[in-house]
Symmetry: C2
Subunit: 385 residues, 2 copies
């Protein structure tokens, strides 16, 4: 395997009733700011549990963090924290709220213009407020990693940063906190976690058998549990299995020591930006086409994926690979995500615009071999029509 | 799955040449104590690499930590640290050196008699010196957990403690640091990691599919890589795969949210204490007998183990289980560990002595259901003759 450094310092509190345990994880006497999104936590009981758990702490609140958290909104939280001298943050929500809280944590004591955190990158962060999270939407893995994506619509920017100072101190994963999610969001989370795993698995072999086995374990679990979530949305066990598996798909573990791709995500981001599709929808469209176009360099891992994940043992190599791609596509469709651009009324007229955006964003050499040029991206998009 | 709390804060630096990176992980200006064992690190080049990496730090050394680290030896290190006001520890060695360093870290500023750390347990630890490790022997998982076992021969005691303050800040896993190990120790490490995984897997189902898949991934990797280590001891890839897999077998990950057993280890410890067998030898003896005796309560997981790990699909349930136990026994034998008490000239005359020791140590209700009574332990030992 390749050399790696792996750090997963976030303490996980998993299971029904674990919100009550946060009082043990926050320093006594801390002045806490609860950050949240559109207010769904008021309806599903999570807010009440958090407030109850924080009895005895000095607590303030900041709501309204958007689905794609914006710099302007988050800087209002930064001002509040500075004015009130708050010293511990608690993100209550999904990946957007946690991503936003990471930026706020890094910005409060930042020397200089906090926008630099995104333009200069996480290395510019030398101090961050401590924070924890209560997760209500499993998908992004933000609850156990140190990455964050922030938007600034006024200048058309959406940028990411990673800082080792921005791991949550703890994250509560209570599956019952996800009960009020629409089934579509749960299904999207399954597809997102599946593709996160693909991006860290479907490259070329580097003799890393345990990373492969763990990734295949995530695939098999999502394939088994995903349809159960559609059939029986409020089953605790299914929600629990999806929630923990989605975290494991992007906490650094399965990607340590192996090549990574991420081209599907990059192409997908442009589809969301241009056509407003759900993130999971874009992945479901791009991945089957990318697997088909890149089966040359991904040949060995595609065969392993066909055999170990889909149990395909018959046919030529090409037939096995085609069958694995077909089964992957069927799985996405079964999870409610159509897999063709035309399913979303996107025609080939969009392709030049998407390619122009990829070029504008410097996405001209994607994939584990940097060989997904703009020409290859165009082939992928055409095949996805 | 069951509720759980999981914390894995140790940063892993994995791969050839990573010892050089420790200078980035130790606070500048730290006064460092290197702790080590019998001096093998002088011969295999690890010591020289560590010293080179610590250029510019104030460094002292403490050698002679035993294979079963003793309180008396470790207290000498504590005295040295107090006298010289050292403030960062670096364990260089295997599980014993790391376990010993954890105790030293907790003892230096302990208010009261440090032996209480073992008699009162890790909850009595309110402060510990920071420490890192450079691992030279993969097996125990001590490099990424917060557990430690310390002996005090003068009063016949061997006790464990766990403290959340005693996670290594970082651990270097450089597979080349294990090149000088005798093949027998590498093989023993494979068996030890296999049985660590069994103890967290072979219980009863709690609808925890991702934990099961990860554990099965560890089994399959050890089954594939173990024999390669015997055939080609100095192959980097094999050493790397065994080293990382052994860490993953006991860093908390696969045991989070599932029942655990540990009876094989408890019975094995008495065999080591009474007859001086290697730890892995004792596990190879006890486990096949325990699997046979406890196939009633472990029935469902034994069938899953037979199918997913050993690929057994034919026969009655009882035949499948018998075949899985046979294959497990064969694997241990292939790894150089005989699996019968009689292979080590231990006869049934020892059994009453072993049972008396289990009783003396309070091991009267072992296993995930606390139903491995002294009578059941005796059945297991008799079957292992």
């Amino acid at each position: 395997m390749n050399n790696f450094q792996l750090h997963m310092p976030t303490k996980i509190l998993f299971g029904e009733g674990q919100i009550a345990a946060i009082s043990q994880e926050i320093p006594q006497g801390a002045k806490v700011l609860i950050l949240y999104g559109g207010g769904s936590i008021m309806k599903n009981g999570v807010y009440a549990q958090v407030k109850e758990a924080l009895t005895g702490f000095d607590v303030q609140e900041f709501g309204g963090i958007e689905a794609n958290p914006t710099y302007d909104t988050l800087m209002k939280a930064v001002e509040l924290i500075r004015a009130e001298k708050l010293d511990f943050l608690l993100a209550v929500g999904g990946g957007s709220v946690i991503d936003g809280t990471k930026f706020v944590a890094a910005a409060v004591n930042y020397k200089g213009d906090p926008w630099e955190i995104l333009t200069k990158g996480g290395a510019s962060v030398t101090n961050a407020l401590p924070f924890g999270s209560v997760l209500t939407l499993p998908a992004t893995g933000s609850e156990m990693n140190c990455g964050s994506v922030i938007s600034r619509p006024s200048i058309g920017a959406k940028l990411a940063f990673l800082s080792p100072l921005c791991f949550p101190k703890f994250s509560v994963l209570d599956p019952t906190s996800t009960y009020s999610l629409p089934t579509r969001q749960v299904a999207n989370g399954v597809v997102d976690a599946f593709v996160h795993t693909i991006e860290q698995y479907l490259t070329y072999p580097v003799n890393a058998p345990i990373q492969d086995r763990f990734a295949e374990g995530i695939f098999l679990t999502l394939i088994e549990e995903g349809p159960k979530a559609l059939a029986n949305p409020l089953d605790y066990g299914t929600r629990a299995n999806i929630m923990w598996t989605a975290t494991l798909a992007l906490n650094g573990l399965i990607g340590a020591g192996v090549p990574q791709d991420w081209a599907t995500h990059m192409l997908g981001h442009e589809l969301t930006a241009l056509h407003g599709l759900d993130h999971a929808q874009t992945l479901a469209i791009i991945l089957p086409a990318l697997m088909t176009i890149k089966q040359d360099t991904k040949h060995a891992k595609l065969l392993q994926f066909a055999n170990r994940v889909w149990g395909i043992t018959k046919g030529t190599d090409e037939e096995k690979i085609a069958e694995a791609i077909r089964k992957t596509r069927d799985f996405f469709e079964k999870m409610g995500n159509k897999t063709r651009l035309s399913d979303y009324d996107i025609s080939e007229e969009s392709i030049p615009k998407l390619i122009a955006k990829l070029k504008e964003h410097g996405m001209t050499a994607l994939g584990e071999n940097q060989d997904i040029t703009l020409e290859v991206s165009e082939d992928i998009l055409r095949l996805a029509l």
